[in-house]
């Protein structure tokens, strides 16, 4: 295995230093004349990013994304580990499917892939899937989610929260009260009324979060709330944490940056679930991420083929790409305005998601002996996002034509570069 000497990198945005990568681990205070030198002058070094919420689409929708292309996109975004959501076809609700996804990730070699197991069989919300079998499989599943669907049945949610305690699992809830969101197309508010698009009210998210926090407290289990999108949800989670309950939460880059005003174009590239909310919500989400109420940023990277977005709004699929732009959006919304330091970014996008997902080899400080999962990032440049340049199979980025700060220059996974000079290896 090659040895790399990263020179002049600002670890977590601090003083310039050299990092030696040898045999897949970080070595500090040493040099190596034979090492391949990577000049990282001016670049910020962060621990490899960990995404707790990615849709890789394989098996079933290989026209939208595969484990290979999705992990390549992740590497381009600075990620070294991704959690692959369960809403594939077949659903990842058995040990067989999660092991297949896990193995595809290993074969690709661009990211460590941690499959998320479905909570219920077929995501149908009727019967618990074999959570224990998935936990015991080679994929060692610890995160369970029916993402895309809410585990809305209160008894089923209670049982899931209880059951995963046996293997230190966590239930990641897609909080969406189904009856309040039948046919919902966008955030319910003044704009949805004007545009004639069925509204997705904030209360449909908040009601489920409130219930789930109470359930998690009652049974003493771990709850993770996916893609928090409203100011009211932030407040509920703040209260739950203040009560000492074991609740964590994520926010997506797009909910930090984009607002529902974009729906006025009727361009379905802005159609996502939960929907883009108001400017007041994005502000509350940023504040919640800054003060730690919201633990992590997770992309909810959701690739869709062109024809599923090149149509009328109501007919279009929900979801947008996120892996390749996540760090830039976090810089734009959190770092540049002074809400987070680079050390905080390492926490929100690496340490904390690895902790929630119980991932041992990722989310570790860039210290002597740590696995060499590293991203080198240039925060000084600005770039205009081009959809066609994405390495994802899909093109449904909401940032096409938007200028964002920063660029991932290199990503190392277990000491091996997956991205160098901003290009896939």
């Amino acid at each position: 295995m090659s040895t790399y000497l990263i020179t002049g990198a600002r670890v977590l945005g601090g003083e310039a230093t050299d990092l030696l990568i040898r045999d897949g681990v970080i070595v500090t205070g040493e040099s190596d004349a034979d090492a391949e030198v990577v000049d990282a002058t001016g670049l910020v070094a962060l621990p490899g990013l960990v995404d707790l919420h990615t849709h890789l689409r394989e098996p079933g929708r290989e026209d939208a994304e595969t484990v290979l292309t999705g992990t390549q996109a992740a590497a381009m975004g600075g990620f070294t580990a991704v959690h692959a959501m369960a809403n594939t076809d077949p659903v990842a609700d058995t040990a067989g499917v999660v092991e297949q996804v896990w193995r595809l990730g290993r074969e690709g070699g661009y990211c460590d892939v941690y499959p998320v197991g479905a909570v219920t069989v077929g995501l149908a919300g009727q019967q618990l899937a074999e959570l224990g079998a998935m936990a015991d499989s080679a994929a060692r599943v610890r995160v369970f989610s029916d993402d895309g669907h809410c585990v809305s049945d209160a008894v089923l949610m209670r049982r899931a929260l209880e059951y995963v305690k046996a293997f230190d699992g966590v239930v990641a809830q897609h909080a969406q009260e189904p009856r309040l969101t039948e046919g919902a197309q966008m955030n319910e508010g003044e704009l949805s009324g004007r545009l004639g698009l069925a509204g997705w009210p904030a209360v449909a998210e908040e009601a489920v979060i409130a219930r789930d926090c109470l359930l998690a407290a009652h049974v003493g289990s771990r709850l993770h709330v996916c893609h928090v999108s409203t100011a009211g949800s932030v407040e509920l989670i703040r209260q739950a944490k203040a009560s000492g309950w074991n609740v964590t939460a994520e926010v997506t880059p797009h909910h930090l940056l984009l607002t529902d005003e974009l729906a006025a174009s009727y361009d379905p590239v802005y159609k996502v679930n939960p929907p883009l909310r108001t400017a007041a919500d994005t502000e509350a989400l940023r504040a919640g991420l800054a003060d730690g109420t919201i633990d992590i940023v997770a992309t909810d990277h959701a690739p869709h083929p062109h024809e599923d977005k090149d149509c009328e709004w109501a007919a279009a699929a929900f979801g947008m790409l996120g892996l390749e732009t996540a760090l830039s959006v976090v810089q734009e919304t959190m770092v540049d305005p002074g809400l987070l330091t680079w050390a905080d970014v390492a926490d929100r996008m690496s340490y904390a998601p690895a902790r929630i997902g119980r991932v041992a080899d990722h989310g570790r400080p860039l210290e002597d002996g740590a696995p060499a999962n590293v991203v080198l990032y240039d925060p000084s440049v600005r770039r205009v996002v081009e959809a066609a340049e994405s390495v994802s199979l899909s093109r449904n980025t909401p940032y096409a034509g938007v200028e964002l700060p920063g660029r991932v220059v290199a990503t190392f996974l277990h000491g091996k570069p997956t991205v160098l000079d901003g290009k896939l290896c």
Binding site: Q185, E188, G189, E190, L191, S192, G193, R194, L195, G196, L197, A198, G199, P201, S265, Y266, D267, E307, D310, C311, E312, W313, A314, A315
Partner: protein, 321 residues
């Protein structure tokens, strides 16, 4: 006028008044033995109807034909649309055949915006009703009808005239377009509905709102009743059809509280006995049938103005048109 008519909000007051004046010219044509103008000869208008709507389609068809345009009707039943062809491919097909205007009715809100703004077609796009969003030519024909009845004694405008729009505002594209257009034309609009049938955020619309029909009727100059679709009755928006009729239906007793000059309107199709009783619909105050006549005139005006008519549609020097 813009190239497209997608929303009543696209129309400035000058635009809207130009449409009304042009419609008045077009309407005079109905009294002539030959009801046809050569204005759009050689132009092609496509009626692209993804939803059943016989009356709106016929109205647009009559309007285009009276302007001598070639008309192609493309409806969902018995066509590629029912075979799963996308809006985009349908649009590309129409573009390849060459058409100058596309009149689109679609169940998805915003579908006309997609057609107009996605680069699929170069034609002018006219929104003939999209989902629960808008129906701007309906608003224009309603305004035209009000203007003919109420404008004469009001300096030729609708300034300050009080218009009550009653019923399922939440799902009504007619209510949305009328609220926007009538505000542009200076009228004072009051929307009347049970609280469950108002959209969230209606307080930001340029209208008054009320839950009390009896309180609004005596002050109204025009009352427009909206259809309540059958599927709403099972949707839990109100307890029963009977209770809805009792609280929000227009019957003879309520009609008696109207001012002498007040007109009663309905965009059709009516559910007699639900939102309006037969004696009201058939009364002297009812202009419901006239709305249909005016619909053709207004749509002629819209097609004429969108497709580049900058000169008067009907020559005023007495020459043959």
């Amino acid at each position: 006028m813009n190239k497209h008519l997608l929303s009543a909000a696209d129309l400035s007051r000058d635009d809207a008044e130009l449409v009304l004046r042009t419609a008045e010219e077009m309407r005079s044509l109905a009294d002539r033995p030959i009801k046809k103008l050569p204005a759009l000869r050689g132009r092609t208008v496509v009626n692209l109807f993804f939803e059943d709507s016989t009356r709106t389609r016929i109205s647009f068809e009559a309007a285009a034909k009276r302007l001598s345009a070639d008309v192609i009707n493309f409806s969902a039943k018995g066509s590629s649309l029912s075979k799963g062809e996308s809006l985009k491919d349908t649009a590309l097909t129409l573009e390849a055949m060459g058409c100058d205007a596309v009149v689109i009715r679609h169940g998805a809100s915003g579908a006309p915006h997609r057609l107009a703004n996605s680069g699929w077609v170069r034609a002018s796009v006219v929104n003939a009703g999209d989902g629960t969003h808008e129906h701007p030519t309906q608003a224009l024909l309603d305004a035209f009808t009000m203007w003919r009845h109420l404008g004469a004694r009001n300096g030729g405008t609708l300034d300050g005239r009080r218009i009550a729009i009653v019923g399922d505002v939440l799902h009504s594209r007619v209510a949305r377009s009328n609220a926007l257009l009538l505000h542009t034309l200076g009228a004072e609009v009051t929307l009347v509905a049970p609280p469950t049938l108002f959209p969230v955020g209606v307080e930001s619309w340029p209208v008054e709102t009320s839950y009390d029909l009896d309180g609004v009727l005596p002050k109204a100059d025009a009352v427009m009743m909206l259809r309540v679709q059958r599927e709403r009755m099972s949707g839990g928006f109100f307890p029963t059809a009977r209770e809805y009729s009792r609280r929000y239906g227009l019957d003879g007793r309520r009609m008696a509280t109207l001012q002498d000059h007040t007109i009663v309107m309905h965009p059709g199709p009516m559910v007699r006995g639900m939102e309006i009783t037969a004696d009201v619909a058939d009364s002297d105050r009812s202009v419901i049938v006239e709305q249909v006549t005016n619909g053709v005139a207004v749509r002629m005006a819209v097609l004429y103005l969108l497709l580049g008519g900058s000169e008067p549609a009907i020559a005023t020097d007495g020459a043959d048109a």
